[in-house]
């Protein structure tokens, strides 16, 4: 029971970190970046190569992965989405799916379809005993990483000039422009942050479930998207809550109901939540005055 709960929170923390990327990008660019999950996969491969081929220490590998994904995020936004700023949301959605396939197939070319076994990054850390349950170091680190990221992002958006500008752009691009905010640069920055987080999520995910292939990011991407909607898309605490709840529901579903049905349970819960509260758990919509 406790072990399941901890596993659920850990898996949910990975979802939460991915969901943050979805939610921030959605908040600011009003688009669902379906390629986000595949950035996780790229992050996983970069870390894998840094450790297994180049023999880099894990910390450096994570850093490399974050740098590559951040740049990848900026490039994707600049090449694929920026030209579509005034296009219909359907066009943007189709493009995002296209980018997703492009990344998966590029990975297929570079790394082939053979499953790579992700090295144990946290091998030299001890496991923790809690009331007779052993907690793997990766679990602890995942949960801690989630908490740190959450706090950092909250401070960033509420205290810094850049963070506040992001919120301004997400509310009203025209008004933000009138403040002298460079909207394009702000959107680009958001993709950079989201993709950097995706890299971290990729390393954590591959550490917990050490198989890596070009489609590795797809399912967690969809789950994290679900988590973002579940918590209230556009909301940072919502992404966190949605992610963790989703992870716990999934693990409990697997443990107590059925392994095959666990995903169905996850999506059923989502549907129920959205029926009762269409904006998600923490999504808000305040009355607008004109």
């Amino acid at each position: 029971m406790l072990a399941n709960l901890i596993n659920g929170i850990s898996l949910g923390s990975v979802y939460a970190i991915i969901a943050l990327g979805y939610t921030m990008v959605y908040g600011i660019a009003k688009m669902l970046n379906f390629a986000h999950g595949d950035v996780i996969m790229v992050g996983g491969y970069v870390a894998f190569c840094s450790i297994s081929y180049l023999g880099w220490p894990p910390i450096l590998a994570v850093l490399a992965s974050v740098v590559v994904c951040t740049i990848l995020g900026i490039v994707i936004e600049g090449l694929a989405y920026k030209p579509l700023r005034n296009a219909t949301s359907l066009a943007v959605l189709i493009t995002a799916i296209g980018v997703s396939y492009f990344l998966q197939n590029a990975a297929l070319l570079i790394w082939t379809s053979n499953t790579k076994v992700f090295p144990n990054v946290f091998a030299n850390l001890p496991a923790i005993q809690l009331g007779g349950t052993q907690i793997a170091p990766v679990t602890v680190i995942t949960v801690l990483a989630n908490i740190v990221i959450m706090i950092a992002l909250t401070l960033f958006t509420s205290r810094t000039k850049m963070g506040k500008a992001m919120r301004a752009v997400s509310e009203d691009k025209g008004a933000a422009t009138l403040m002298g905010i460079n909207v394009n640069r702000t959107i680009s920055m958001t993709f950079a942050i989201g993709s950097g987080l995706a890299a971290i999520a990729g390393v954590l995910l591959c550490s917990a479930y050490p198989t890596l292939m070009p489609t590795t990011g797809a399912m967690p991407g969809i789950k994290a998207f679900t988590a973002a909607v579940f918590g209230g898309i556009g909301s940072i605490p919502g992404a966190m809550l949605g992610g963790v709840l989703l992870g716990v529901i999934e693990i409990f579903g697997k443990a107590y109901v059925s392994t095959q049905l666990s995903d169905a349970i996850v999506f059923a819960v989502l549907i129920i939540v959205l029926l009762v509260k269409p904006t998600g758990l923490l999504g808000h919509k305040i009355r607008e005055k004109v």
Binding site: K164, L178, M179, G180, I181
Partner: protein, 236 residues
């Protein structure tokens, strides 16, 4: 007194709709100039184009002797132009203080406190409510916030699009007296209004816009007396 803003033969389209058909006007340093006209005449379109939110098909806009062509809207703010747009457009989910801080986005942080103090002097109500989320302010308070926010960039030219819209008469008076105050403190004003009478009473000069063209222009007081204007815009 130099010319602060000069607009020459401006043409603006929405797709195939020709909304502004060759508008020219100028605003001199220290003036209050008003642009009046009926609904749909193209007042907001003109202001938004000058402010950089819309792109002109042709024509020239120069501000402080500098051609604004190809200069990003976000850069224009730093040069001293502020637009307080129609419908206020304050950031609903941000606090009053955060909204004002966004207004000062282009300015060094060392100068923000000073401007904040000045804005609070003009709008004491904003100071009382600085932690309140803007979306929960009343319409009048939101208008004050929108004006205060625009002032935070310390503009040389302030463009206001229907600041009196939806406000009670007493508040309209207050807003107009604040506009005059801002002007006395050295800000040049370009004012768009439905409330032509009020606008003409505070303005030095006025332009009348009709379906995308300027039909009349001149001294504000003289226009206020003209029979034609009275009939069309002042309700008799």
């Amino acid at each position: 007194m130099g010319t602060m803003l000069r607009v020459e033969d401006l043409h603006v389209y929405y797709g195939s709709i020709h909304a502004i058909k060759g508008v020219s006007f100028e605003v001199n340093e220290g003036e209050i100039v008003t642009l009046i006209g009926a609904n749909g005449a193209g007042k907001s379109t003109t202001l938004n184009t000058v402010g950089g939110l819309l792109k002109a098909r042709s024509g020239k806009i120069s501000f402080m002797e500098k051609d604004l062509h190809g200069i990003g809207a976000d850069k224009v703010v730093a040069q001293g132009m502020a637009l307080c747009p129609e419908g206020r457009r304050v950031f609903q989910h941000m606090t009053v203080l955060e909204n004002l801080e966004m207004g000062a986005y282009t300015r060094p942080s060392s100068e923000v406190a000073d401007s904040l103090e000045k804005v609070y002097q003009l709008f004491p109500r904003l100071k009382e409510r600085y932690r309140q989320v803007a979306g929960t302010l009343s319409g009048g308070e939101q208008q004050m916030l929108a004006m205060g926010r625009a002032l935070m960039s310390k503009p040389k030219l302030m463009m206001l699009d229907e600041p009196s819209m939806g406000l009670a008469p007493i508040l309209v008076k207050q807003i107009f007296s604040i506009i005059e105050d801002m002007n006395k403190q050295g800000t040049t004003i370009l004012l768009v209004e439905q409330n032509a009478q009020m606008a003409l009473s505070v303005a030095n000069r006025a332009y009348v816009l009709e379906t995308g063209r300027i039909t009349t222009s001149g001294d504000a007081k003289e226009l206020a007396e003209s029979e034609e204007i009275k009939k069309a815009y002042l309700g008799g």
